[in-house]
Symmetry: C2
Subunit: 156 residues, 2 copies
Amino acid sequence: MEDTMTTHILTTRANFIDFMGHALEGNGMPPIAGRILGLLIFDGEPRSFSDLATELGVSRGSISANARALVQRGSIIKVNMPGDRQDYFQLADESFCVLLQTIATRMRSTSQAVQGFASELPDDATPHKRLDGLAVFFTAMADGIENAAKTLNQRC
Amino acid sequence: MEDTMTTHILTTRANFIDFMGHALEGNGMPPIAGRILGLLIFDGEPRSFSDLATELGVSRGSISANARALVQRGSIIKVNMPGDRQDYFQLADESFCVLLQTIATRMRSTSQAVQGFASELPDDATPHKRLDGLAVFFTAMADGIENAAKTLNQRC
DNA sequence: ACCTGCGTTCAGTTAAAATTGAACAAATCA
DNA sequence: TGATTTGTTCAATTTTAACTGAACGCAGGT
């Protein structure tokens, strides 16, 4: 009974980790980054570098690269345990907010880029208007996402 | 002078098309789809199937596949010109709105999926809470994006 | 000093995605 | 009918991204 329960949780855990791998793949991140994030979200507590490699069944090189990318994005943080020189990783408190901010920022820079193209064109040219419209579109999207961040009532 | 102007516009056009190719690449679409979209946004008017292949310098097979994908997404529409049996494509009026709706929908389904994983876990388990939080996150994002769509005062 | 464990790096490999190009069917025209 | 044009399909190819694994430097431990 206890075992059944545990098994079910472990199955769910594995499925969730797998799911996150695919989900973040669709957002321009490598699958393993998604799996690391999924594992850390699920477990909540710090996990060691080696554990990640072992549990996910991937090379240490992969953990190194992908964990670094996640740290850089602010999704996870690296922590040190006293008397243990391994690196540990855990979900960042502001993880989700950071994710939103990252996306919003990307939208804004895209908007700016499009605006740049528009400004190259004569004001009366119809492409100018359309590119302007596209720039507005990206800005609106950035606004919407940042707004969502605030809605989450966390510090963003 | 006239020539300089035209050249500059053409250069900007080429750069914009190229930019869109890269931009949509980051959103999970093939580069050529982005370039087709960029070309149609810039030009505004219908362009023929063959023109797309010629101007973008890619195979007809690629135009066929990518244009179809864009049509299916609702970003562009296929139109027919009287007395010309070629297929023409042009930017859909609701192009940008559709883009937002697509993203919002994906967010909601992701949220639901995560919620599904959460429901597999006992209510008192801490992973349950975290997955719930993640689901809320995706919902908030979907809301934010749909809100942005409405802000654009177009019919969405 | 030597050994062991840890994380990084990067050249090589593998796997996945995108694109090509030739074959094809349908439609048009002479 | 036969020749042409048009868009689709799919197997082969190219391109790109991701991953591996061995070599390396660094820290501690014995």
